[in-house]
Subunit: 119 residues, 2 copies
């Protein structure tokens, strides 16, 4: 998905940092929460854009919305409106250009930890 330009859909668009605005510290912070890390793992496994409701998160809708917003504002995911739903996709291309290997090593580490802790 393209990222720098605003997405026009029903007149609404969500703010995304352009690739060159993405900061490593922000990406690491976005990934440092267990719920957000779980969201990103699921997104990476799906390899396609998913609506927020596709994620079975044990939190309220407003908390869920917050987590998706943190991921979007850090440049980890792209969110676009499709009707009343938001579709979410990883910004893998942008992240891989800026920080080669980082996302994969975090996903690998998260998988190892989940295996180790039996989660």
């Amino acid at each position: 998905m393209s990222t720098a330009a605003p997405q026009a859909a029903g007149g609404r668009a969500l703010a995304h940092p352009a690739r060159e605005e993405i900061r490593l510290e922000g990406v690491l912070h976005a990934l440092s929460d267990p719920m957000r890390l779980a969201i990103v793992r699921e997104m990476a496994a799906a390899e396609t854009a998913l609506s927020c409701s596709a994620f079975a998160l044990p939190v309220t809708k407003s908390t869920s919305t917050h987590h998706f917003r943190v991921l979007r504002e850090a440049g980890v995911i792209e969110q676009v409106y499709r009707g009343t739903a938001k579709l979410n996709g990883l910004r893998r291309g942008d992240l891989d250009v800026l920080f080669p290997g980082l996302l994969d090593s975090v996903l690998d580490a998260a998988g190892r930890q989940a295996d180790r802790l039996g989660e």
Copy 2:
């Protein structure tokens, strides 16, 4: 450096998580601060234990102490007393066993970002 056992030096020892207690989320959070990321980069470049005063940080001593404590409690660094000074070393061995490639990919990403932003 060994990590799980407390370090006896003048009767004082600092608490460290054992390797199996280190959590990915905590490591990412510890690395998500620009100052702490700079400390870790300097430590990785030094490849030897450094005293806190070896780092020229533009912050007060109490803020500096806070950042080192966050890194220690997350399992990213080991701190041992040598007289009145603390020596700091990366827990590279533990991190590489738990999360292979993660620390190197973060260090590489931090270096690329610093080059890109001219820092």
